[in-house]
Symmetry: C2
Subunit: 207 residues, 2 copies
């Protein structure tokens, strides 16, 4: 399964409001999301597993790979296409050994040092941010800005996806940094029509 990092949707089941969670994700995939990450906190392992199994089926119906956030055990249990870990998750070297070489491994970074470390530890791609300050991830720290993203993109040879506060209004600026894609939560999931939101974002990105 080829990986297209262009429009990378991260889930948050609390953001879809009264809409159906799985339906909102399916519509976003219909609209053009190219990569899907299950990122759920405050959830039992069983629920995380059940949600991930369901989303894997939905994502694969659109030929989109499924990535699990943080939880290596869930990634193994549902045989996901990959795992995304951050600085407060399991050490990347330990994770790569257990996950195996064939799975996609993403790594969250906010500095050039972390980016180079991730690349050295065989991450397949980096999530760099927060590009802009955001409320979606309380633990995301201070924004690195477009300049910070640009420096990380220039420092490594693996794909870099910008994350944090990215929306229709700033997508062109993010594109100009040379990033390989944009990672979004609320710019898609908080919208009334997630299909339309994804369609607009991907067409702006591909323009």
């Amino acid at each position: 399964m080829a990986v297209d990092y262009s429009l990378y949707l991260i889930t948050d089941r609390h953001l879809v409001g009264t809409k159906d969670f799985f339906d909102s994700i399916a519509k976003a995939l219909e609209g053009g999301v190219t990569l899907l990450q299950v990122r759920e906190k405050d959830i039992s392992s069983k629920e995380f597993y059940d949600i991930s199994l369901k989303l894997k089926k939905i994502a694969h119906a659109y030929n989109v790979p499924l990535i699990i956030n943080d939880r290596l055990d869930i990634a193994l249990a549902v045989d996901a296409d990959g795992l995304h870990i951050g600085q407060s998750d399991l050490p990347i070297d330990v994770v790569r050994k257990i996950l195996g070489e064939s799975k996609i491994l993403g790594y969250s970074v906010s500095t050039i040092q972390e980016a180079l470390y991730g690349q050295r530890m065989a991450a397949d791609y980096l999530g760099a941010g927060a590009v802009f300050s955001t409320d979606s991830k309380a633990d995301a720290g201070e924004a690195i800005g477009l300049e910070g993203l640009k420096k990380i993109v220039a420092a490594v040879s693996i794909p870099v996806v910008g994350i944090g506060g990215i929306s229709i209004s700033n997508i062109n600026k993010v594109k100009s940094t040379g990033a390989d894609g944009i990672s979004l939560i609320s710019a898609i999931l908080s919208q009334e029509d997630t299909c339309k939101a994804a369609k607009e974002l991907i067409s702006l990105w591909k323009k």
Copy 2:
């Protein structure tokens, strides 16, 4: 490493008060704890990993096996001696496949049906409870009582450990059910002297 289920301590870093967490555990092992489970909630994967690595070293210094609660990924990452899962964790058949045959697998049950299922799914032991109602585990459900524990012990051929509200005051009654051991959190960790608490409990149990 032979498994002695007699005095099974489950951690809760919030219970040790002003005492040092690792020191409290080490003293409890010194006092006679025979099995140690790391059960921590609301914690990052990195912290869980770091705590577990440290506790593995401590437990092994006392020739006590280390079991991880819920998180299969942490168990794999620190190469723990086993994993304990409950009804809201990953499915036991999926877990056994990934964990491998050589590791200890524990399963929380509160009914005979769950107990038989756990045994069929190759659990090495069962944690049955809550024997008495308790505040330690908010998700433990209604107490099964001494009668409930006795029935589960009689229904299966694998070791059964009683859990929930067990203390000095009721240990003899629990022993009379035929259980293979007692699992405790606060009866050890909330005590000023965790070594003395463990010593008293194990001597009562072995009497």
